[in-house]
């Protein structure tokens, strides 16, 4: 209910602003809606959204898997931590644009280069979060598992993983919001399709309704995925926690 109200306020503000600014600078909601419908009818909207989402899914999965594994290793093994730390600091502070441009130069304007570049941007934050999570593991539960001779894979699944779950969820959430942003840049610079590419084209043509049509649809999809996938997943993870009064 509150969300709907908030949305209505947003629409109203937009509409009023459009009236003042004039349709050339800020098209009103119906104009943008018409643009969305046109793009949807031609099939371009779905195709571009699909391409972007596929890139997000691939690079996100890649970065999360690799990042979690490296983070866990760095949290557990001191040597790995000392070896990996300088790289981590470098990657954390490297601007996304640099990584993307370098990837395109070295690997060509390919899909693999785009996905790898996006993944590399997300990787270090996943590593840092999982390393913290691994460092925070309860040594007492570890001892318990050893005394009771619980086999390692079972201990990992029932004792380690539940402790890491909130960190994985946090890494996923912050990672997803990072990937949403970076994927458009990568598409703008070197892919022939996707929301980022379309926004680039709209920018060159000064086609503001189309630009807004893609931006808003994309934002809506992001919001939907957050609500339908990410939030229930987080809720499921913390099911066992006693509710705060």
């Amino acid at each position: 209910m509150l969300r709907l109200l908030s949305f209505a306020v947003f629409l109203a503000t937009w509409w009023i602003a459009a009236l003042f600014a004039g349709g050339d600078t800020l098209p009103s909601p119906p104009v943008v809606l018409a643009a969305i419908v046109t793009e949807a009818r031609s099939g371009a909207l779905l195709l571009n959204l699909g391409a972007t989402l596929a890139r997000v899914a691939l690079s996100f999965t890649l970065a999360m898997t690799l990042g979690s594994a490296i983070g866990y290793l760095m949290g557990r093994v001191r040597l790995a931590d000392r070896l990996g730390d300088p790289w981590l600091i470098l990657l954390l502070n490297l601007p996304a644009l640099v990584v993307i441009v370098l990837a395109y130069i070295w690997a060509g304007l390919t899909e693999a280069a785009a996905i790898a570049a996006i993944a590399v941007n997300k990787l270090p934050t996943a590593v840092v979060t999982l390393r913290e999570g691994t460092r925070a593991l309860d040594a007492e539960l570890d001892e318990m598992a050893r005394v009771f001779a619980i086999p390692p894979w079972k201990a990992f699944r029932h004792i380690i993983l539940p402790q890491l779950a909130p960190f994985i969820a946090a890494a996923a959430r912050s990672g997803l919001s990072l990937v949403w942003k970076i994927v458009l840049v990568a598409e703008l610079l070197g892919r022939p399709n996707g929301v980022g590419f379309e926004i680039g084209v709209a920018f060159q043509l000064f086609d503001i309704p189309r630009l807004l049509a893609y931006s808003l649809t994309f934002a809506a999809v992001v919001l939907a995925i957050e609500t339908v996938l990410v939030q229930p997943f987080e809720a499921r993870l913390s099911r066992w926690r006693p509710r705060a009064a």
Partner: protein, 242 residues
């Protein structure tokens, strides 16, 4: 299972590089099915000793002999349950081989039946301790280690839990080592009671209790307690340290 402990030396090195003796010249043995109770002031190295006996710490001089394949059940001072799993799951994860009748019998003795599906966060300390006990007994241990399993419980509850532990120990006749600072635990549960010195810990005196656990009445327990307390005083422990 027979347990023989002969620890010549166990020391920790602190951050400043200074060695600090925790255990020195500690030796005792327990026969099959015997309950040994170590009574000592806090900070005398009891927990360190238990870690060694549980196989968690191998960095010491001396010898601990027990069968290499001995199954160990342990109750830690803090219950150490998995907060994200139910009471029953907590027991089953540590003891995958326990069958339903055995588990039910265990839960019945420990009065946990009503709490099977509860999560540890919903339990009082006394209940959580009982779950930890259930877990330790469910693995059908050859060697049971109890680290202050009744600390910070009120007297009535502690007494009831003592009776439950006595029942379970006698049912399985498992070699047990219980560490406590409470003379009541020693008098109610021990076959042999070892009095430990303040750190570095060594054994000051040994008291054997010939009466079987199930035959000990209130008067006898009081007499044993008095005897142990007298010996403690004989060694001029500060009673406050207990």
């Amino acid at each position: 299972m027979r347990l023989e402990v002969d620890i010549a030396h166990k020391a920790f090195t602190n951050a400043a590089g200074k060695r600090h003796d925790v255990l020195a010249g500690l030796n005792f043995a327990l026969g099959h099915g015997e309950v040994g109770v170590l009574v000592g002031p806090s900070g005398c190295g009891k927990s360190t000793l238990l870690k060694i006996l549980a196989g968690l710490d191998h960095d010491y001089e001396g010898r601990v002999s027990r069968p290499a394949d001995a199954r160990i059940g342990m109750v830690f001072e803090e219950p150490r349950l998995l907060p994200w799993r139910s009471v029953e799951d907590n027991v089953r994860i540590a003891a995958p081989l326990v069958d339903d009748p055995k588990l039910s019998a265990l839960f019945a003795v420990l009065e946990l039946d009503a709490h099977r599906s509860h999560f540890p966060g919903e339990l009082s300390l006394g209940l959580a301790r009982r779950v930890a006990l259930a877990r330790a007994f469910a693995v059908e241990p050859d060697f049971l280690i109890l680290d202050e399993p009744l600390a910070s419980l009120d007297d009535a509850l502690a007494a009831r839990l003592r009776d439950q532990i006595a029942t379970l120990v006698d049912r399985r006749s498992v070699t047990t080592l219980l560490v406590t600072h409470d003379v009541n635990d020693a008098a109610r549960l021990g076959d042999r009671v070892f009095l430990l010195s303040p750190g570095p810990a060594r054994i000051l005196a040994e008291v054997s209790i010939p009466t079987p656990r199930h035959a000990r009445g209130g008067a006898e327990i009081a007499a044993i307690k008095a005897d142990i307390s007298r010996r403690i005083d004989g060694h001029r422990w500060e009673r406050d340290a207990l």
